[in-house]
C-alpha cells in the first residue's frame, strides 16, 4: 500500500482535474498573447523615450524605471487574466465534484472540508504560477536586450499578482461553494469583481471612508505592488479575504450540514474576518522595494522628517475628483504617512469635483498644523510639501545629494523576437500540451 496521505491523494486528484479543465488551457493560451501585447508595447515606448529612432540625447528616458515603464504594463495582462479567466478555472475545479457527484463520495472521508478546499486552492495557485510563465519569459527577453533588472521590485510585482490571483481563487471558491451551478458562481464572481470597480469609482468621487475601503480592492492592491510598495495592512487584509473565501467554500460544500447552520457559520466567519480586517487596517508597516524609491522621499529627507516628533495635521481644501488632490496624495502624502508616525490628513470640500468651488475663499489651500504652528501652501508636489513642513518644524531642508537621484535605465532597443515568442511559440506549445493531455486517457 502506498504511504501517501489522503490529502496528498486529493492534491494529485485536483491536479489531474485541473489539467483536464478546458478553462485552464484557455487561460494558458490567452495569457501569452496578452502579455505579448503589453510587453511589446511597453518596450517599444520605453525604447522610443530612451531615444530610439530619435534624438538619443533628448534625455527623456533618464528617469525611466523599468518597473513603471515595462513591468507594470506587462504584468497588467495578469490582472486581466485574474479578473476574467482565472475565476472560470477556479469555479471549474471547485464545482466539478458537485456536478459529477464525486463530492458526495469524497465528503464521506473524515478529512475536514477546509482541508479538501485547501487542496483545490493549492493546485489553483500552482496553476496560476504556470500561467505566469509568459511574464517570466518577458523578463528573460528584457534581460537579453540588455535591460536592467532590479529583483526586489520585480518580485514585489509578481507577489502582488499572485496575491491578486489568490483573492480571485478565494472569491470564486466561495461563490462556487454557495451556489449550486457553475454558471451562477461565475455570475456572482464577476459581479463582485465589477462591484470592486464601482467601489473604486465611488471612492474617487466621494473620498472619505469609501477611499479607505477602495484601498483594499484588488485593483488598488495590485497598483501598489506594481509601484514596488508592500503594505502590511494590504497583505493582511488580502490574506484574510483569501482564507475567508476558502472557508466559506468549505462551509457550503458540506452537503450533510443543515443550511441554517451553514448560514450561521458563514455569518460568524464573516464577523470574525471583518474584525481581523478592521484590526489589520491599523498595521502601518510598509516597504518600498522600488529601485527608484518611487514610494519614498529621499533618504536625507526621511532622516530630516524623523526629527519631527509631534503629530502633524494637514487640512487640504480639495475636492475628491480634483487632480491636485490626486497629485498631493500620490506624490507627497502617501510618502509622508510612510515616514512620519502621526500624520492626520483631512480633506475639506463641499462638492466632489471642485469645479464650482474654485472661486471659494479657501479652496485649494493646504493647511499644516504642527505643535500649534500653522502654515498654508497650495503646492501639491513632494518638494513643495516638504519645504512647508520643514519650515514649520524649523528644520533645515537637507541638500539633495547626487547619489540619491535615480537616473533610470534608458534602453533604446526594440522588442526583438518577442512577437514570435508570445504570438507563435507560446500558443503552439499550449496547443500541443492540450492535445497531449486530452488525447491520452491517463
Amino acid at each position: 500500500m502506498r504511504s501517501r496521505s489522503a490529502w496528498t491523494w486529493l492534491v494529485a486528484k485536483e491536479w489531474r482535474e485541473l489539467l483536464v479543465a478546458r478553462a485552464f488551457w484557455v487561460l494558458l493560451f490567452a495569457i501569452g498573447p496578452l502579455v505579448g501585447v503589453t510587453f511589446i508595447g511597453a518596450v517599444r515606448a520605453y525604447a522610443e523615450l530612451s531615444g530610439l529612432n530619435g534624438n538619443p540625447t533628448a534625455g527623456v528616458g533618464e528617469a525611466f524605471s523599468p518597473l513603471i515603464g515595462v513591468w507594470a504594463p506587462t504584468f497588467s495582462a495578469c490582472e486581466l487574466a485574474a479578473a476574467f479567466l482565472l475565476p472560470f478555472v477556479a469555479i471549474r475545479v471547485v464545482s466539478a465534484d458537485r456536478q459529477s457527484g464525486a463530492l458526495k463520495m469524497e465528503l464521506q472521508h473524515p478529512m475536514s472540508s477546509f482541508a479538501r478546499i485547501s487542496a483545490k486552492a493549492l493546485v489553483l495557485i500552482v496553476g496560476w504560477i504556470i500561467a505566469s510563465l509568459p511574464p517570466m519569459i518577458a523578463i528573460g527577453l528584457w534581460k537579453s536586450y540588455g535591460g536592467s533588472i532590479y529583483a526586489p521590485e520585480l518580485l514585489t510585482v509578481a507577489a502582488g499578482h499572485l496575491l491578486n490571483a489568490a483573492l480571485t481563487i478565494g472569491l470564486a471558491t466561495a461563490a462556487a461553494g454557495i451556489t449550486e451551478h457553475p454558471s451562477t458562481a461565475a455570475i456572482v464572481t464577476l459581479t463582485v469583481t465589477v462591484g470592486t470597480w464601482i467601489l473604486n469609482f465611488i471612492a474617487a468621487v466621494q473620498g472619505g471612508v469609501w477611499e479607505r475601503a477602495a484601498g483594499y480592492t484588488p485593483t488598488a492592491m495590485v497598483a501598489e505592488f506594481q509601484h514596488g510598495l508592500i503594505r502590511l495592512d494590504v497583505l493582511l487584509v488580502a490574506t484574510t479575504l483569501f482564507v475567508t473565501g476558502l472557508a466559506v467554500g468549505a462551509i457550503w460544500t458540506r452537503l450533510g450540514v443543515a443550511v441554517r447552520r451553514r448560514v450561521s457559520e458563514s455569518m460568524a466567519l464573516g464577523a470574525f474576518a471583518a474584525a481581523i480586517i478592521f484590526a489589520a487596517a491599523f498595521a502601518g508597516a510598509s516597504w518600498d522595494t522600488s529601485e527608484a524609491r518611487a514610494n519614498s522621499f529621499t533618504e536625507s529627507d526621511e532622516v530630516a522628517l524623523k526629527q519631527i516628533r509631534s503629530p502633524l495635521r494637514i487640512e487640504a481644501h480639495l475636492a475628491a475628483e480634483d487632480p491636485r488632490r490626486l497629485d498631493l496624495e500620490r506624490k507627497a502624502l502617501s510618502k509622508l504617512r510612510r515616514t512620519l508616525r502621526r500624520v492626520d490628513v483631512t480633506y475639506v470640500a463641499a462638492t466632489t469635483t471642485g469645479l464650482f468651488e474654485q472661486t471659494a475663499a479657501h479652496y485649494g489651500e493646504i493647511w499644516y498644523d504642527l505643535d500649534g504652528r500653522r502654515a498654508m501652501s497650495r503646492i501639491t508636489t513632494a518638494e513643495g510639501v516638504l519645504e512647508t513642513i520643514f519650515d514649520l518644524a524649523g528644520i533645515k531642508a537637507p541638500q539633495e545629494l547626487d547619489s540619491e537621484i535615480f537616473r533610470g535605465h534608458p534602453l533604446a532597443v526594440p522588442p526583438k523576437g518577442a512577437a514570435a515568442v508570445f504570438y507563435g511559440i507560446w500558443p503552439a506549445l499550449i496547443v500541443a500540451g492540450a492535445f497531449l493531455v486530452f488525447r491520452r486517457p491517463t
Binding site: 494529485a12 486528484k13 459529477s100 458526495k104 463520495m105 464521506q108 472521508h109 473524515p110 452537503l255 450533510g256
Partner: protein, 257 residues
C-alpha cells in the same frame, strides 16, 4: 470522541429518521435494524424515499430527526463516516479520469485514515482491487474515461469504488440499475461474495425480483414510511392479514404498501 468504525458483529439501528422538504415529508420516522454481515434490501417504488434515506444515513443530506444507533446510542459524525459508506446512484465521478486511476484513487484516498481495525484490513489490501476488477469484469474498461462509459459500465465501476472503501457497511443505491440480465446476475454474485467476506451491504432496489435474488432481509418503504422489515417468511407472516397468501415478495410488497 472516537473516529474508529463500529466493528462488525454489532447491530446498527436506524431510529425514527425523518426528513422534510418544506411541508413534504420525504421520510417519516423510518426505523429498522441492520444486522452485521447481512445483505439488506431496501425495497420501495420510485419516490418512496430510498435515496433520501441513504443520503441521510451517508451524511450527505441533513436529516431533520432520528439517528443511526449502535448499542442504543447515536453514532457521532466521525463514527458514522468510519462505519458507513454511501454509494450514490446516477453519478459519474471524475468523468475525465480513467477507471484505473479512479480505482487507485479510491483505494489510496480512503486508505488507513482511521487505522486498521479488524475486519477492514482485507479491504485495504492491493489484491482486493484486482479481485473487484475481475469480479465486476472491469479489465476491458480500465483505460477508458469514466465519462465515456455506458450506464451499465459506469454502474459496475461505481460498485467497484464502493467495494474498495474500508467502511464495514456499504449503502448502495440501485446497484442493478442499468445492468442487463447477465450483468445483474454477476453483480448479485459479487455482492453476495463480499457479504460472505464480512461486509454488510444495504441495497436500495426498486426491482423486487432483483432484491429477492440477492438480499437476506428486506425493509419495505413506501411514501417515506417503513411498511415492514424481515426475511421473506417474516414479511409473509406480516402480510397475511392483508391478504398475501404466498411467499412471493412482489405480492407481499403490494399487500403491505
Amino acid at each position: 470522541m472516537t473516529n474508529a468504525p463500529i466493528h462488525l458483529g454489532r447491530l446498527l439501528q436506524v431510529a425514527h429518521l425523518t426528513k422534510r422538504y418544506g411541508h413534504l415529508a420525504a421520510l417519516s420516522e423510518v426505523s429498522f435494524s441492520i444486522q452485521p454481515g447481512e445483505v439488506l434490501g431496501l425495497i420501495g417504488p420510485n419516490g418512496s424515499g430510498k435515496t433520501t434515506l441513504f443520503e441521510c444515513l451517508g451524511g450527505v443530506l441533513p436529516a431533520d430527526g432520528g439517528a443511526l444507533l449502535v448499542d442504543g446510542r447515536p453514532l457521532t459524525a466521525a463514527e458514522l463516516k468510519a462505519t458507513v459508506f454511501y454509494l450514490p446512484d446516477l453519478i459519474a465521478p471524475w468523468p475525465s479520469q480513467t477507471v484505473r486511476w479512479a480505482l487507485d484513487f479510491v483505494r489510496g484516498y480512503w486508505s488507513v485514515p482511521w487505522g486498521h481495525p479488524r475486519g477492514l484490513a482485507p479491504s485495504l489490501s492491493p489484491g482486493l482491487s484486482l479481485d473487484v476488477v475481475r469480479r465486476l469484469d472491469l479489465e476491458p474498461l480500465l483505460d477508458q474515461r469514466i465519462g465515456a462509459l455506458s450506464k451499465g459500465q459506469r454502474k459496475r465501476a461505481l460498485l467497484a469504488f464502493g467495494l474498495l472503501t474500508p467502511q464495514p457497511v456499504l449503502l448502495a443505491d440501485e446497484p442493478f440499475d442499468g445492468l442487463d440480465l447477465r450483468q445483474t446476475r454477476d453483480v448479485a454474485q459479487t455482492l453476495r461474495y463480499f457479504a460472505s467476506q464480512g461486509r454488510t451491504l444495504v441495497l436500495s432496489i426498486h426491482q423486487i425480483g432483483d432484491a429477492a435474488r440477492v438480499c437476506d432481509r428486506f425493509v419495505l418503504l413506501s411514501n417515506g414510511r417503513t411498511r415492514g422489515e424481515g426475511t421473506i417468511d417474516e414479511l409473509a407472516h406480516l402480510a397475511a392479514p392483508s391478504g398475501a397468501t404466498t411467499n412471493n415478495l412482489e405480492e407481499i410488497f403490494l399487500a403491505l404498501t
